[in-house]
């Protein structure tokens, strides 16, 4: 076919449209005005409003599918059972207990990280979001908050199971310190996990790439939190005050710094990751 490119004449066939007399199909409704386009200025939703909408959608999708949290929790409990038999010990404490707990939680969190953006990637959620007049940071914060929520539920299941199946000492004295450490660790996992998930979800090998990227990035979280928790899970744990003023302090600072640095990195690059 020969190419034909002519400058079109400036027809005005849709002058009729402006008067609402254009060509609807036979039988079509005549009430067109309610759906007519609106010119600028447009109102953009506030950050808080967009964040609430995104978070609500996130939790609704998870509640309807139950794809992340139950899988994460069941995985953690299963790993504790495996450790129970594999270590061939009635109970563990100290460094070993801290390592088993933290590594299990980390591996379980990878399941949530891997699925964090799957619904958005598979069902056009990214495009829908990018077409809306919303600050992209709202999506980042919503995803990180959702992941923190998943991790909290995971820990509510996994920590008692760990105490029941493996821990040789009482969990109660360690609980306040454990909560503080896990809170800092969750923040780090959520920020780094959101970054990794955003990177991996648009690749073909996302199931492989997610863990491969996340594990090295999360090593500082494991080091900091297991070292901080280790004294709390010893046979004779220190008092909370002594633990806080002792060696745990620097590990808590390390975790807080990790959270801060990764929070800033993810904030800086997230917009670019969403773009083509």
């Amino acid at each position: 076919m020969s190419a034909r490119t002519s400058v079109p004449q400036r027809t005005q066939p849709h002058v009729l449209k402006a008067t609402g007399q254009a060509r609807p199909l036979a039988g079509a409704r005549s009430e067109l005005e309610p759906h007519a386009p609106t010119a600028n200025p447009r109102v953009a939703p506030g950050f808080g409003g967009a964040l609430r909408a995104l978070l609500r959608k996130e939790l609704l999708v998870e509640l309807r599918t139950l794809e992340s949290v139950p899988g994460m929790s069941l995985f953690a409990v299963s790993v504790f059972v495996v450790f129970h038999f594999a270590l061939n010990r009635a109970s563990i404490d100290g460094d070993l207990a801290a390592g088993v707990l933290l590594v299990t939680l980390l591996l379980a969190s990878l399941l949530g990280i891997n699925r964090l953006f799957v619904a958005d990637a598979e069902q056009g959620g990214f495009d829908g979001f990018l077409l809306a007049p919303v600050n992209p940071t709202a999506l980042l914060v919503a995803k990180a908050l959702a992941l923190i929520g998943y991790l909290l539920v995971l820990e509510l299941v996994a920590v008692p199971a760990f105490a029941l199946l493996l821990l040789g000492t009482s969990l109660w004295p360690a609980l306040p310190g454990l909560i503080a450490v896990l809170a800092l660790a969750d923040l780090g996992v959520a920020t780094a996990g959101t970054l990794v998930s955003t990177l991996a979800v648009r690749t073909r090998a996302r199931d492989l790439l997610g863990p491969l990227l996340a594990l090295p990035l999360l090593i500082p979280v494991v080091i900091g939190s297991s070292n901080a928790i280790s004294p709390l899970l010893a046979v004779h744990p220190p008092a909370l005050g002594a633990w806080l003023t002792g060696s745990a302090a620097r590990w808590l600072v390390l975790l807080a710094l990790y959270d801060l640095v990764f929070g800033l990195i993810v904030y800086a690059v997230f917009d670019f990751l969403l773009e083509d």
């Binding site: 002519s6 027809t11 609807p24 386009p37 447009r42 909408a53 056009g124 829908g128």
Partner: protein, 229 residues
Amino acid sequence: MEASSPALELHGLGRSFGERPVLEDVSVSLQAGQTLVVFGPNGSGKTTLLRVLAGLLRPRSGRVRVLGAELPRQSWALRGRIGWLGHDPLLYMQLTARENLAYHARLHAVADERVEQVLDAVGMAARADEPMRELSRGMVQRVATARAVLGRPELLLLDEPLTNLDPGARQLVWPLVGPGSGHTRVLTSHDPATGLAEADLVLGLRHGRSELYASAQNVDAEQVMELYR
């Protein structure tokens, strides 16, 4: 956007995926309120063109100006001003139609009443509380149409918008996205008869290149069919 400037202005637009060019040297100028119909066989670059116009893909070369925003530099300025209706409905299948539209309404700062208005307009109010995955493809397309016009966009980008719709559903959605809706529109089509009836301007793509660009009144169905041979 200035009153006199075109709604769309493309000069030498090019886009590639890796080394493979998908669009090459495409130039178009479309006034506000007009309809551009894009014809072309599968893989000719129609959907890619629409994604570039929506700011979802970056042009690799050429100049692209949409609603006064220079792309990709000002793609943020397009957000909320474009209604997109493509092959993918951009809806979460786990949620209901009402939940999906309420989610998009909040992202577009649109009042909840508008959700009921568009649900009613596409005839989905009665099925609005059923999960999307339980609806037929035609019903999903109706909800997707409601989503596309929810924020009263200035520009509609319609990628074969009547796909999956029965004649009754077409009559329902056409007032929202058809020529009578008052939108500036770019739509893709494989049907020369209905496409030409819709069009002010016609763009024919083949292998990503513009092979036909003319006023609709200067194009006949046979010229469109040449693109597919």
